[in-house]
C-alpha cells in the first residue's frame, strides 16, 4: 500500500514499515506495516532483527502551539 495512505490510516502512531517499492532515489513509495504503536520503543525493539529495508516514522503532526524543541549533539 502507498506509504502516505499508511500514514493516514495509522495517524498519530509510530510505524514500522517494510518497504516494498521505491522510486529512482530509493525513496519508499509502497510498503507493508509490520507494527504500529503509540510506544516508540516497541517499534525500535521490533526492527532489531529484521534485515529488510524498513521505514520508521511517527505518522502524526508535531504540535505547534505550546511546543518548542531544543536538540543537542
Amino acid at each position: 500500500m502507498n506509504i502516505e495512505k499508511l500514514k493516514k490510516r495509522y495517524k498519530n502512531e509510530w510505524l514500522l514499515i517494510k518497504i516494498t517499492k521505491t522510486d529512482k532515489q530509493d525513496r519508499p513509495i509502497e510498503g507493508e506495516v509490520l507494527l504500529h504503536s503509540k510506544n516508540r520503543d516497541e517499534i525500535y525493539e521490533a526492527q532489531k532483527n529484521i534485515k529488510d529495508y524498513l521505514y520508521i516514522a511517527y505518522s502524526g503532526e508535531m504540535p505547534k502551539k505550546g511546543f518548542a524543541v531544543a536538540f543537542y549533539g
Binding site: 516508540r40 532489531k48 534485515k51 520508521i56 508535531m62 505547534k64
Partner: protein
C-alpha cells in the same frame, strides 16, 4: 540540486534519510534537520539493527542534556542518503532522543558540512547540493 518543501510554522524541519551499512541493511528514518548539531544522531537500536556495535566503539562524545552530562558512542555509518545526495563514512552519535521529540534522530553537521544548503523560511523551501 534537490529540494523539499516544509512547513515554516513547524517547530522543526523533519526530513527522511536512509542509512546503509556494510552488510547492506537499510533503515529509513525521520530526523530533524539541525544545522547547530555537531553530529548526526541516530538511536542506539537502529545502529544495532544495521549491524554496528555501539558499545564496542572506542570513540565517545560528551552530550550536555537537560538531565545532565552523558557520554555516547561515535560510529561511522557506511552511507547516509538525503534526497539525491549520498555521503559515505559519516560519523554518527548513537543516542535516543526523547519520544516526545517525534523524530528518530538529527541530521547534523557531520553530514551537512559536505553540501551547500539553503533554507528559505518564508517560502518553506530547503535545498541541498554539492558545490
Amino acid at each position: 540540486m534537490a529540494k523539499i518543501n516544509f512547513d515554516p510554522q513547524s517547530p522543526v524541519i523533519a526530513i527522511d534519510i536512509t542509512l546503509e551499512s556494510e552488510r547492506g541493511i537499510k533503515r529509513r528514518i525521520r530526523v530533524a534537520l539541525d544545522t547547530g548539531a555537531t553530529y548526526t544522531m541516530i538511536p542506539w537500536e537502529i545502529a544495532e539493527a544495521l549491524g554496528y556495535k555501539p558499545e564496542m566503539s572506542k570513540e565517545k562524545v560528551t552530550l550536555i542534556t537537560a538531565s545532565g552530562v552523558e557520554t555516547a558512542p561515535l560510529i561511522e555509518i557506511k552511507k547516509i542518503t538525503f534526497l539525491a545526495e549520498g555521503l559515505n563514512n559519516v560519523p554518527v552519535v548513537c543516542h535516543d532522543l526523547p519520544p516526545k521529540s517525534y523524530v528518530t534522530g538529527l541530521l547534523g553537521s557531520s553530514f551537512l558540512r559536505h553540501f551547500k544548503i539553503t533554507i528559505d523560511y518564508p517560502k518553506g523551501i530547503f535545498e541541498i547540493s554539492r558545490e
